[in-house]
Subunit: 219 residues, 2 copies
Amino acid sequence: MKVIMEKDLLRANTDQAEQNRELFNKNNVSVINMISSPGSGKTTLLEKSADSLRDYNIGVVVGDLYTARDAERIEKAGLHAVQVNTEGMCHLNSSMVARAVKELPLEQLDLLFIENVGNLVCPVNFDLGEHTRVAVLSITEGIDKPSKYPGIFRDAGTTVINKIDLLPHLDFDLDTCINEIKQINTGTNIFVTSTTTKEGLDEWCSWLKSITKGNGQEA
Amino acid sequence: MKVIMEKDLLRANTDQAEQNRELFNKNNVSVINMISSPGSGKTTLLEKSADSLRDYNIGVVVGDLYTARDAERIEKAGLHAVQVNTEGMCHLNSSMVARAVKELPLEQLDLLFIENVGNLVCPVNFDLGEHTRVAVLSITEGIDKPSKYPGIFRDAGTTVINKIDLLPHLDFDLDTCINEIKQINTGTNIFVTSTTTKEGLDEWCSWLKSITKGNGQEA
């Protein structure tokens, strides 16, 4: 009987992630791993960013437990989408991503988003081969989430504070939230966005454009 | 070298959960496992229910990755609280609960809430010894969450649709959401609540009172 232990699984995941990153670098595509709670607005953010990014070739790998709803929305927005159904698993791993990107025209892409399963805990330990991570926080979740789920906010090169249009209706202090994030991760970029009012989308999309074809680094 | 496999861990969890349930039954305390995404409003719902439940003895086991913020809030609301820090683990298990309830006056309690780690995926497979599960969904997460994360909504004896005060500001159809939940779980109780306007809190608290000391069954 062969027993595969968790540390072996994590090492195998990291090895495959390195291979993914080499493939992405060879194809000169910048890759973003997007992580958040369920319902933070990742898919809508990508839908609403599509128009500003129409001069670029964008791919999206969408992780979901079972459904293909998000990938259908992404395709309608004109982006290349591949759905990965994890069959109940709580995060994407690098093998799933390796299989998924075979379905995309990698050599044509400028930017690839990997939309992880909605989960603030488990995706943290799984390198997918991305160049950078984006944490998305909906302000409806409360200002305490960065402190309560620090792993994801510590590793994020960029943090998007989303659904800011709801600010007048919530007991939420934006400055306090930004300070909490900066205490955990001094270097993270922060964008404050709403897909309803479009606040902050220009800045977010300008940053996305600046990292295309730069393997995740700003040009 | 002893290798503990995942199925052994799950069986051990279920065995300990049965022991927990026996202990709860012996003490005639009804136990609720509350599961949701981060930021759905579980803690605030308990805070705001405390006043209506002041004639009852209520305990809360609060699961968090690292902080004790929620337990501090629960204590301020006058309930007995114990914090379980999972040190990064994505769900509570039955051993953690067994240790936690040693810190509570179980024999005096009418009702015990176990507030799980904010996560719509991983807590599903871990019986904690509860009598019933409550799924909490914030309407800010979108109507597609029950279909995208069916495990938790399938097992929930009760579903709370929370933050309903934000309905005018969101693209969210309540009837569609309720239909999606009922397609997954025809028998679930549904409460529609707001801790801001107090809508639905009377119905929610009446139901809680009806199950106290009944080992999770309505009197």
